[in-house]
């Protein structure tokens, strides 16, 4: 081919790209969206750590240290308890991210120049934040220690740290719940969208419509096999995680599988909704990706903590089904909690399933055009 022909061909390809408005919009938008989200979400600093304090014998020293924590903009004291017994439920319910446990007679010991013990417990089911919180806390304690040391000398605070729920900070424990969500999203949303669009493109959808089958039947027929597939995927992923990575499984397997089913159904419903709106397979795939995969990875708290996202993204995150599922998955797998603690998240997921299903059925019209 001569050079002129090559150039002509390149020009032609540019024209194709520029004239396909739909794909062009998505392609240009996607990097932008990713950059913004990555930029904001990719912060390892943590704000607004909810701190529970256990102070059996409050005195000037413990009060001073507590005040110091409260004064930072990183920590927020949410509870002050007399004993540690009340701490556990707080953690399980996810109402505290960290706890500061003072030894009895904290101040008195300091006064006698004996080492005063502090226990720092951090919810490490998200190991990234776990470490960071630990570092912040230690910094605060060290600052206080230094202040006292310069004032009177011979002060020692011995801090013992416990990482709750994930003592060894295994990152795989972080990823597995997120991975399950990802796999379910992929299979359910994208595959459903593609399958439905392919039916339309092939022309068989026309024949299916001109039959006693109602739209809801067609949707169920499309969705059920992928539900089964998604279920199989979850089981496999869990088995692999448990057998190969020794990811802990502290809660009820049945509950996790049930929650996975509910989450799958939300994704499937979204997939159907996407397919009903886009005419081509390629369009359906892109839209499904933009509408499900991206938000699930970036906004669900799977990789980037929700707490460190700017407010608008946090709000957006609340309509991402994966976000709720991940809390449930982590809670069950790492914290071993059940319905009493997770009922809110489960309720949100169930509601989303019904809402998206209704939306999907309604947008799947019994007629063409």
């Amino acid at each position: 081919m001569n050079a002129g022909a090559l150039r002509a061909f390149i020009v032609k390809e540019f024209r194709h790209i520029l004239r396909d408005r739909q794909t062009l919009t998505i392609l240009l938008l996607m990097p932008l969206v990713q950059v913004v989200l990555f930029g904001f979400a990719l912060r390892s600093d943590v704000r607004d750590v909810r701190l529970a304090v256990v102070d059996p014998t409050p005195d000037y020293a413990s009060t001073a240290l507590r005040a110091r924590f409260a004064a930072t903009d990183r920590f927020r004291v949410v509870a002050t308890l007399p004993t540690t017994a009340l701490l556990e439920p707080l953690f399980r319910r996810g109402e505290a991210d960290a706890a500061l446990v003072f030894e009895p007679d904290f101040g008195a010991r300091l006064g006698r120049s004996e080492p005063a013990r502090l226990l720092l417990a951090v919810d490490a089911s998200d190991p990234n934040t776990g470490t960071t919180v630990q570092n912040y806390a230690r910094a605060v304690i060290a600052a206080q220690e230094t202040e006292w040391a310069t004032a009177r000398g011979g002060v020692r605070i011995a801090t013992d740290t416990r990482m709750r729920f994930n003592p060894t900070l295994e990152s795989v424990n972080l990823f597995v719940p997120g991975l399950i969500a990802l796999v379910l999203t992929l299979v359910s949303a994208m595959m459903t969208a593609i399958s439905l669009s392919r039916e339309k493109e092939r022309g068989t959808m026309e024949v299916l419509l001109v039959s006693p089958l109602r739209p809801v039947h067609i949707i169920i027929g499309k969705v059920l096999p992928y539900l089964a597939l998604a279920f199989a995927n979850v089981v496999t992923a869990l088995l692999a995680a448990w057998a190969v990575f020794q990811v802990p499984f502290r809660g009820s397997v049945a509950l996790l599988l049930a929650a996975s089913l509910v989450y799958s159904m939300v994704s499937l419903a979204i997939g159907v909704f996407v397919a009903a709106r886009t005419p081509s397979q390629r369009g359906a795939m892109l839209a499904a990706m933009l509408g499900t995969l991206l938000p699930s990875t970036l906004l669900s708290g799977m990789i980037f903590p929700i707490a460190s996202m700017p407010a608008p993204l946090q709000v957006l995150s609340s309509i991402v089904p994966a976000r709720w599922f991940i809390v449930v998955a982590r809670g069950i797998m790492l914290k071993g909690v059940g319905v009493p603690q997770l009922w809110q998240e489960l309720a949100v997921l169930s509601f989303m399933t019904l809402a998206f299903m209704a939306l999907a059925v309604r947008s799947f019209k019994p007629r063409l055009g």
Binding site: P212, P366, G369
Partner: protein, 319 residues
């Protein structure tokens, strides 16, 4: 005898394109009705309205006495439909496709067997073969079987023979004739004018409008001007010469012959033939013969399309 399909004043537009305009027709019970016209004439749009896939913008349509807008579910359970695009599952076998479409209508292949037997018998040896491994003609037969298996009360086939070779087309129409003989109402659309001859009645459609509805033999009878068939050697040169004849209305190649239409309505075709032969011989076409001919469907269609103006064909004109 009741009417299977009644269409009155049907209109449909897509954006600024008028796909159908003021379409009216009636299909009688047990008829083999043909809808004949080229691509873009509106055939598929009409079919989609009749099968309740699209809603008309104007006018009404009933199928089996049921309104296409209100009674869509009843219509959908009683109609056998073959859309224009290939409508089978390529990765399923012949048998699996058939069983699927039977079950969608809550019936079985066994219950519909006698209805599909004439068509399906030829497919049976291949019933475990994947649909995409079949030849074009076989695919059409399978699609027809799938449309028939639930024993519909009316068959709507949108361009079932497009892209299929002449022999397979003939066989397909043989099967349609057999179905019609058993009393089934069939509405078929096709761009092939010769297939129109096998219908009981034919509607010619072009640009979203119906040009004429009549039995195929009658359509030719309405041809308004004298028509002659001219034969000779050097056909292309003959064509150009004929166009120079002062009374020529239109001159078109028709296979071996050239069809010449004269402007003089009511003129005597035999006399015109003699005039033409004289004219042609004078121009060097010694062996040319011009004899009166009966207009066929294609001649009528072209006349109705507005295909006069014969000097040199204005190539940019006909949309």
């Amino acid at each position: 005898m009741s009417d299977s399909v009644v269409v009155q004043g049907l209109g449909k537009r897509f954006g600024d394109a008028q796909a159908l305009a003021d379409v009216s027709l009636v299909v009688e019970d047990g008829e083999l009705f043909g809808l004949v016209g080229p691509d873009g004439a509106g055939k598929t749009t009409l079919f989609r309205i009749l099968t309740t896939l699209l809603m008309p913008d104007a006018g009404t349509a009933t199928v089996l006495g049921l309104d296409v807008v209100r009674d869509l579910w009843e219509i959908r359970s009683r109609v056998g439909y073959m859309p224009g695009t290939f409508s089978l599952y390529p990765d399923l076998s012949v048998r699996e496709n058939l069983e699927f479409f039977a079950s969608v209508f809550s019936t079985t292949v066994e219950r519909g067997y006698d209805m599909i037997a004439p068509v399906y018998r030829q497919l049976e040896p291949f019933r475990e073969r994947r649909a995409d491994a079949l030849s074009g003609g076989m695919k059409q037969k399978l699609a027809l079987s799938c449309a028939l298996v639930h024993r519909p009360d009316i068959l709507l086939l949108d361009e079932p023979t497009t892209g299929v070779d002449a022999v397979s087309r003939r066989e397909f129409w043989d099967q349609l004739a057999a179905l019609r003989a058993s009393g089934l109402t069939i509405v078929v659309s096709t761009p092939y004018m010769d297939e129109a001859l096998r219908c009981d009645r034919v509607a010619l459609i072009q640009g979203g409008r119906i040009l004429e509805i009549d039995p195929p033999e009658v359509i030719g009878e309405r041809y308004p001007l004298p028509l002659l068939a001219v034969r000779g050697l050097a056909r292309h040169a003959l064509l150009l010469t004929l166009r120079e004849f002062p009374h020529a209305h239109s001159v078109y190649p028709f296979g071996e012959e050239i069809h010449y239409t004269d402007q003089r309505a009511g003129g005597d075709a035999t006399r015109i033939g003699a005039e033409l032969e004289t004219f042609l011989r004078a121009k060097g076409h010694q062996e040319a013969r011009a004899v009166p001919a009966a207009a066929g469907i294609e001649d009528s269609f072209m006349m109705l399309m507005g295909g006069g103006g014969n000097r040199a064909p204005r190539l940019g004109v006909s949309p």
